[in-house]
Point group: none
Chain length 154, copies 2
Amino acid sequence: MGTLADHIEAYIKQMLRENQGRAIELSRAQLADVFACVPSQINYVLATRFSLERGYIVESRRGGGGYIRIGRVQVEDVRQDTIELLNQIGQRLSERQMNNVLARLIDHHVLNARQAGIIRGIVQQECANIGEGKDVLRASLVRAMLLLILEQGV
Amino acid sequence: MGTLADHIEAYIKQMLRENQGRAIELSRAQLADVFACVPSQINYVLATRFSLERGYIVESRRGGGGYIRIGRVQVEDVRQDTIELLNQIGQRLSERQMNNVLARLIDHHVLNARQAGIIRGIVQQECANIGEGKDVLRASLVRAMLLLILEQGV
DNA sequence: CTAGTCAAGGTCAGGGATGGTCAGAGGAGG
DNA sequence: CCTCCTCTGACCATCCCTGACCTTGACTAG
């Protein structure tokens, strides 16, 4: 974890943990100050690490007294949520989307980092040998492997 | 005398040993520099010597702060012949062939009947949604799920 | 009420830093 | 020769980070 974006991500997640997972509120300018970077860097981190796909909800308001609020999508039944997530995977799944799915499942403790790594490795290897239709194959593979884990890992 | 690829392979394995088998992280450009070769040579070594079948897992990230991470997955000797079997699955796998593979793995106690059933179900579902290339997709799916079970125990 | 001002946050295009891919040249062994 | 493995280089894809410019909201002077 070396980049600035990684550090900011970790910092925000730490804040969330310390707040027991309830939504936190912060100032973009102040946070940028803490990390000595331009404010728009914060937007980059929010867009890439705290997207809805990854299970986060980000709200904000401009103007005087503006703020950024970050919360997690509330999930009652993790297993059910995962199944829905898998159903929402369409016919195609980009590498980026896959990473978002895996990141979210790690967050929800459906997977650990090791399992996610193995899945990524398998997908990469299988996708390497075909030209067209990587996204289609990736969608099938990810669905299949996650279903397998769900149905028999419990 | 070994080839350049052999030397790079040995070098990386040495690094892994020195790190007690924990995953190592390296820079493609730097490593290429050490061996005075083009960066893509590293990819060649990774693809040919550090594949999943050989028990390695390779992850990478591009862009600033990019890296290549190499870790090991433990594969029990008992299961090594299963890996062989998976490697023999070619680009296509008919339903009959799949059933033969699964039956054989049940015989060898690599799978139980329930697991085989789950795999069949998932494959059937995934293959139902596409027209052409069912056999190709089936080959990928079966390889992927069996690798997942082997390397991770699910 | 209106316009102006200040204080947030948002967007977007671009540049630099990595790693990935692929076709083909080059070699070593049968 | 023929084939398989190595190795290279040109071109590609992705990620991170910045800075100029834009939008929104609250407050306040007239």
